[in-house]
């Protein structure tokens, strides 16, 4: 969570009071409200990533700041998700304009990864170490979940959901979190936890 100022004409700063008021709108329970806020931020972050933003986290925070500002200014928001989506679309357009200007000045360079970078050995070692932190069942499940490709992957995930007695979507969420934890573990192992 960042408390950056918006780039609007009128000076407006996100305060703790405004932020708390926004959380109260999300949920009466502050803890649940915090989880919902993180989910909204993650969704915005991904939205800007998928839209090709160069700074998706900044764009996501800008969107949230604008929404909280409107609410703070007294705007009645009945459909928060739709409202957030609309604001994000505006921010994305503004970001796209800035990016296009910047691309005109910079050399368009696409960094392509070498097929096998030397540091990938470290990645594999760290990953194996992090996988070792998991229980046998968790390790077997995530390995099975990401093992296959194509139609076999779909079938495998369906079988896995049936075996675990959960829906495919629940399994998907569980695996996504497991994978995110693994990635964080590997980053930490590589000394990049600050990234």
């Amino acid at each position: 969570m960042s408390f950056a100022k918006t780039s609007s004409r009128r000076e407006w700063a996100l305060t703790q009071e405004v932020f708390d008021r926004f959380l109260a709108i999300l949920d009466i329970d502050r803890e649940k409200a915090g989880e919902k806020y993180e989910f909204i931020r993650l969704r915005l972050l991904k939205y800007f990533q998928w839209c090709g933003s160069d700074q998706p986290d900044i764009d996501a925070d800008e969107t949230l700041n604008r929404v909280m500002r409107r609410i703070d200014e007294g705007e009645n928001v009945y459909n928060l998700d739709g409202y957030i989506q609309g604001v994000a679309r505006l921010v994305q357009k503004e970001s796209l304009k800035l990016r296009n200007r910047k691309q005109e000045l910079d050399v368009d360079q696409v960094v392509e990864l070498a097929p096998a970078e030397p540091e990938e050995v470290e990645w594999r070692e760290c990953l194996e170490r992090c996988l070792g932190y998991l229980s046998d069942e968790e390790r077997e499940i995530i390995t099975e979940y990401y093992k296959y490709e194509g139609i076999e992957k779909i079938n495998c995930r369906k079988r896995l959901a049936v075996r675990l007695g959960v829906s495919l979507n629940s399994l998907r969420v569980r695996m996504y979190r497991q994978r995110a934890n693994l990635e964080a573990c590997v980053q930490e192992c590589l000394g990049r936890e600050d990234l």
């Binding site: 990645w123 093992k147 590997v186």
Partner: protein
């Protein structure tokens, strides 16, 4: 094109991947974004699709266009690069199997399948032929057995017929035979007949036998050359008298008949007793004897009821007056009364009366 396109999936998945790669139309973008902004599950599906896309890139499964799009969108940031590195390491860690599309067996080995099918068909046909041949052999064997049986029966019939013929030719008269075998006079006898067993083929067990050995006594007429009227053989002569025994005793007759010679006999008072032998025991309770001349003129007819004894094989009708039998050839017809009241012929004999002077 290097690698396989990840777009070849369901429409929803394809739409998500196109969106992630920036290939979606404005309408598609609007649809996908509205979906995951309002539905947490849809957003989760987008996250999974993103992971799968990164994995596909790390494993070299994207087409050239998809790969270029991916690199342009995901590899600009260090975070995106790290995700790909993680995915590469992760792909190696999960030991992904070499994906090979295994076609069905019948497509991999069509010739082998065809050969196996041909062998199966041949085996079935051969089995059928063997079974059919065995069945036909059994039928042929049965037909031969029936043929053999019929042949044997025919042979038996033929032998019976020959034996009967020979017996008819060779059989001597066995009734009214004089006590003295050297006598010139003979008594007609019933022709002996071999007892036959009805032969019926197996298929005609319920039918009547075609040879009836019970109700019919076939016979051959034989002439009696001489009656035992030799005067020197009194006992034999007396057998021709009424109720005379072979020993010469005449029950109820004249006591001095034993002194009668043929020349001195009063033939008007003489009688002739006929004793007729049968092939089988009597079966009728009422018999009739009819005597005719050789020309067919009936001389006399004697009907009587003689309670038959068990296994009785000889018929002895009441004596006939000698005056009724002048010299000449005679035929004796023996009939029995059937259950329906009609008389059926049982036997036929012939004899000759010669009067010595």
């Amino acid at each position: 094109m290097k690698g396989r396109s990840v777009l070849g999936r369901s429409q929803a998945e394809t739409e998500r991947v196109r969106y992630l790669l920036g290939l979606a139309s404005p309408a598609e973008r609007e649809h996908v974004e509205s979906e995951y902004f309002h539905d947490a599950d849809a957003f989760q599906r987008m996250l999974s699709a993103e992971d799968d896309l990164v994995d596909a890139y790390a494993r070299g499964e994207l087409s050239d266009e998809e790969r270029q799009r991916f690199e342009k969108r995901f590899l600009k940031s260090s975070q995106g690069k790290d995700r790909v590195r993680f995915s590469r390491a992760f792909a190696g860690a999960v030991v992904a199997p070499v994906h090979t599309v295994v076609p069905p067996f019948y497509l991999r080995h069509p010739v082998r399948i065809a050969a196996v099918a041909a062998v199966v068909v041949i085996a079935v046909v051969l089995s059928w032929l063997v079974i059919e041949r065995r069945r036909m052999s059994n039928e042929l064997r049965e037909l031969r057995a029936v043929h053999e049986q019929l042949h044997n029966e025919t042979e038996a019939l033929r032998r019976d017929a020959e034996r009967m013929h020979i017996a008819e030719i060779q059989s001597p008269p066995n009734s009214l035979q004089p006590a003295n075998p050297t006598s010139r006079k003979t008594v007609p006898s019933q022709r002996p007949r071999p007892k036959r067993t009805p032969i019926t083929p197996p298929q005609q067990q319920e039918q009547k036998p075609f040879v009836n050995t019970e109700d019919v006594n076939t016979f051959v007429s034989r002439k009696i050359v001489d009656l035992p009227l030799d005067i020197s053989k009194i006992p034999s002569l007396l057998t021709l008298q009424t109720a005379s025994t072979p020993e010469g005793y005449v029950a109820g007759g004249r006591a001095d008949q034993s002194n009668v010679t043929l020349d001195g006999v009063d033939i008007n008072e003489a009688a002739v007793a006929l004793h007729m032998a049968l092939n089988s025991p009597v079966k009728y309770s009422d018999y009739r004897v009819s005597i005719e001349t050789a020309e067919g003129r009936q001389v006399t007819s004697v009907g009587w009821i003689e309670p038959p004894k068990r296994n009785q094989t000889r018929i002895s009708p009441p004596p006939i007056k000698a005056t009724d039998l002048p010299a000449g050839d005679y035929r004796v017809r023996l009939t029995g009364k059937d259950a329906d009241g009609s008389f059926v012929q049982v036997a036929e004999y012939s004899f000759k009366v010669v009067v010595k002077k």
